[in-house]
Amino acid sequence: MDDFLAARSQMALSLGFHIIFSCIGMVMPFFMAVSHYKWLKTNDEVYKNLTKAWSKGVAIFFATGAVSGTMLSFELGLLWPKFMEHAGPIFGMPFSLEGTAFFIEAIALGFFLYGWDKLNKWFHWFTGMVVGVSGLASGILVVAANAWMNSPAGFDFVNGKYLNIDPIQAMFNKAWFSQALHMCLAAFTATGFAVAGVHALMILRNQNKEFHLKAFKIAAVFACIGALLQPLSGDISAKDVAKRQPAKLAAMEALYKTEKPAPLLIGGIVNEKDKTVKGAIKIPGALSFLAHGDFKAEVQGLDKIPENEHPPVAITHYAFQIMVGIGTLLALISLIYFVNLIRKKPLLEKRWLLKLFVLAIPLGYIALEAGWLVTEVGRQPWIIYGIMRTKDAVTPMPGIAYSFYIFSAIYLSLSCIVTFLLYRQIKMVPVLYDKSNHASSD
């Protein structure tokens, strides 16, 4: 494996790992806050136990997310020193604010996890909310920094020099809003479906039904609202990408030739050598509409872009298909759920609906990772779009492949251990939180 590929793989792996943990860490606190609120209002012990059970999950995910995030703040320099040398002062603003938000989150989490029976109960609830809000703020800020790489702003690039740097303008670049919105909704949807699915599974197994049903309802509402709003946010993103990064849009849709009107391709097998797509379903004019809001508009294909600026088409296209496909499926499940809710059908009788939720446990995260691939791979060969190429940013140190192998092993084992720990937490729910077994509820 050559060093450049190794560096890219290691970065992809680290971000792909971190993204799951940080999403859970930023969404779960809101679920806890709802459950915690219900406990404070109704005095129903089940809600208290639920909050505690979830908070243990959050502690595990937060710690893993925090250390993998620490890793990333160094890895940017370890792998891409030439990028950081120039980009650091420009896109550093969201990172310095994120440092604050992350710090507040860690403090609030300390209060929340250790504050049971030690703090005023509403202050305790408030610290839980602070965990959620600052986590969400961190997420938005980090995505804003990534958005800058897609949509560089806040400096003038003159003769290879970065002049007139304005970090505030860099932070509020053109892509920050659409990317942050899409990411936040994705985080709520993916985490919501994963959590709801796990509890649905336990309901289907007839274990602690009351506990799991309450948990399911809280998570499902967040998940379904997120999944229904996501297509709207996706539309904003698509139009935005069409305007700013035509090469990325063309790769997402494997549009090799500029067309007017351009069809939307669903599925299909990309042949990067021949620049063709086989076996895709074509919806005439749909891409023109999605990209420019007009069924007859011209959509720029890869033929208008110099060959050495093409992103890898196959990966981007497949990842985009996976993301959209899953997103549509989750939106459908959400629709069914809400219809069911409005018609006041008891959930426990609809076992097939619960089974759908079980099926959706991994789907949200698969879509989220696929979306991340679209935005990152679709930006290649650039690390700063249009300004600096990724291969020019890589570290001069040889032997990165070994560090990639080490980190693959570390992340793989961490994933296994975290899964194992969650399995054990869930397995212990009857012992720890069953109403008939109060004595050991702590």
Binding site: S68, E98, G99, L113, M397, L414
Partner: protein, 334 residues
């Protein structure tokens, strides 16, 4: 505004050293505790650092963000030439943080704990060792930006007597800080005596490794003695640190916990000041005799201004909240 940014950078590094260091130290103490007392040490430690450990490690993030936003050239030089020790330190941070949380949140207590404990203890030792090695390497003048071969560019930059001695010295200081901190966190008189003993051993170890740092500096031709003794601030700092050592031993024997903490923190601060003041504002010393100075590598004006503003704003939010966290979860004195 650049002074605000540099002040926060120094504060971040200092607080990470003190708080994060005490945190690592707790694991080092556990490593050097006899098997029969380990579970009790673990319990005290968990109560003491459980609520605050994640916040303690945020100081590292703050310092690193200041570096890459405000002083990108320093950040990238370290990233390139100290890639290997940084990587090992990061692996240590990952292993330690996760093992600490996993062993607490594993719902079932079984053989897995053997694994978590091992990982936690050894990474608590390795992480500050490499942190010290990195700190030593930055000032050792072994970073060779003109090197053409792998070994002199990426290995000798950190693998030298001085850096390793600083690493060991750091480990001893961390253990010392932790022992002092834990004395005040336990209820049992017996445990308290145990931690006092530990603090004494760690203090002796720190003095020995401290002496080794000076010897290694001579060996590697680093003008450490000049920095410390031919400079008024350095000399004052080292005299204060030495004098307070006497007071510290007196208080240790008396078992005064709160004053001890302040004194131990003060000592470590003085040591850091003595080592770093003489070559401030130079941050990295290079093999070719040059240096990378904080002022010369300062980022653009607008960046520094907004960074300083963000830090000031952040500290208004963070410091009271953090102070309350420490206050709320410290052991109440009867």
């Amino acid at each position: 505004m650049e002074y605000v940014v540099i002040a926060f950078l120094c504060l971040g590094i200092l607080l990470y050293f003190l708080l994060g260091g005490a945190d690592f130290g707790a694991g080092i103490i556990e490593l050097f505790t006899s098997t029969k007392n380990r579970s009790r040490t673990r319990k005290t430690m968990y109560q003491a650092i459980g609520p605050v450990w994640e916040a303690n490690h945020m100081w590292l993030i703050i310092a690193i963000v200041i570096l890459f936003v405000g002083f990108p050239h320093i950040y990238t030089t370290m990233s390139v030439y100290l890639h290997i020790p940084l990587l090992i330190m990061l692996i240590g941070i990952i292993a330690r943080g996760t093992a600490f949380v996993f062993r607490h949140y594993d719902a079932i207590k079984d053989d897995m704990h053997w694994l978590y404990n091992r990982i936690f203890r050894y990474s608590s030792f390795i992480t500050p060792l490499f942190l010290g090695i990195i700190a030593g390497s930055v000032i050792s003048g072994h970073i060779d930006t003109d090197a053409n071969d792998f070994v002199s560019a990426y290995i000798y930059s950190w693998l030298n007597w001085f850096s390793v001695a600083v690493g060991l010295f750091t480990v001893a200081l961390c253990g010392f800080l932790a022992a002092i901190y834990l004395i005040g966190e336990t209820d049992s008189e017996q445990d308290k005596r145990r931690f006092i003993k530990k603090a004494e051993y760690m203090n002796i170890a720190a003095v020995i490794f401290g002496a080794m740092v000076f010897i290694a500096a001579q060996f590697d031709k680093i003008p450490l003695i000049d920095w410390v003794f031919k400079n008024t601030v350095g000399l004052t700092a080292i005299i204060l640190a030495s004098l307070s050592l006497i007071l510290l031993w007196y208080l240790l024997i008396k078992g005064k916990t709160k004053v001890l903490r302040i004194l131990a923190g003060f000592q470590v601060t003085m040591i850091l000041l003595a080592i770093s003041y003489a070559h401030f504002p130079n941050f990295i010393r290079l093999k070719n005799g040059g240096a990378i100075s904080l002022f010369e590598t300062l980022g653009p004006e607008k960046t520094i201004y907004s960074l300083g503003l963000a830090l000031l704003l952040g500290s208004v939010l963070i410091l009271p909240f953090l102070g309350y966290l420490f206050y709320k979860f410290q052991k109440k004195e009867e």
